[in-house]
Subunit: 164 residues, 2 copies
């Protein structure tokens, strides 16, 4: 199961420290998503969608940890109960706002993604498929507000790029 | 960028034909998600979440096509403007309902995933991160209801498993 980069995300987030931990905390942050020209045909009709999923390779995440202390709590949880990037398969996903497309460059907002991140996939965000009002949000329902951080630090960051 | 399977999805969907095209059309379909024992620690505290994302390798998807006629329309669109599985990186994602966990087996409902599909990741579904009422849903807003199919056929299916 090998992945190919289909593009690169150019964002103002140069380091983990200071980067919002989720798109919902990143409304002011815009980025350019460069899709490689050979995939141009795949972008047809994408512009009609208000929001899109970006799937990406967390290229500067530390090696996988099965227990992590996430940003939004001060207790340890299983990594699959968190969105931390240090996972066995470090694939991130973010629902970002699509502002426009020019040729093969997407202009997006609400970006919690590091500059230079390899892009793996784009999918349309479809409310009917993706939007649920979940009543139970696990440990997040009881997390300690004093430690409920919206901006990342270096805890999951490795300046050496993870094997491409 | 190499992926490792962290488990296998055991579902009643043996072939693409007859499988719902999205979880929202699959409310009656339950499955067992077997997580390999070496990842057991990563599941701690997952049970508190009502819904989870499953990321998986579409192992029986045809080779990538950049233009596709999706199930929910009769016109061709760029593959990145659809959720069709025949993509450059055939990674699927489905927000399914978590009914319970016993040891390392997750019992889930709302499954649009073929039996035997390799599991890549589990993430908690968090309404704050994932739920948006998008006003514009692209071609889906104008798709022809007569060709708006909720159950898959064989168009993206290849009985020979895609390179694991």
């Amino acid at each position: 199961m090998k992945l190919v980069p289909i593009g690169i995300i150019h964002s103002p987030c140069g380091t983990a420290a200071g980067t919002p931990v989720q798109p919902c905390f990143a409304s002011g942050i815009e980025a350019r998503v460069e899709v490689f020209p050979e995939y141009a045909e795949g972008l047809r009709d994408l512009e009609g969608f208000e929001r899109i999923w970006l799937l990406f390779w967390c290229h500067q995440a530390r090696a996988a940890q099965l227990s992590v202390v996430p940003y939004r709590d001060c207790h340890s949880h299983g990594v699959f109960a968190t969105r931390a990037p240090s996972r066995p398969n470090p694939v991130g996903m973010s629902a970002v706002k699509l502002l426009g497309i020019r040729d093969t460059v997407l202009h997006v907002a609400g970006v919690d993604i590091l500059n230079g991140t390899p892009l793996l996939d784009i999918k349309p965000y479809v409310s009917e498929y993706d939007s649920y009002a979940a009543q139970r949000n696990g440990w997040l329902d009881n997390s300690d507000a004093r430690r409920n951080i919206h901006i990342a630090d270096e805890r999951f960051f490795d300046p050496v790029k993870r094997e491409p």
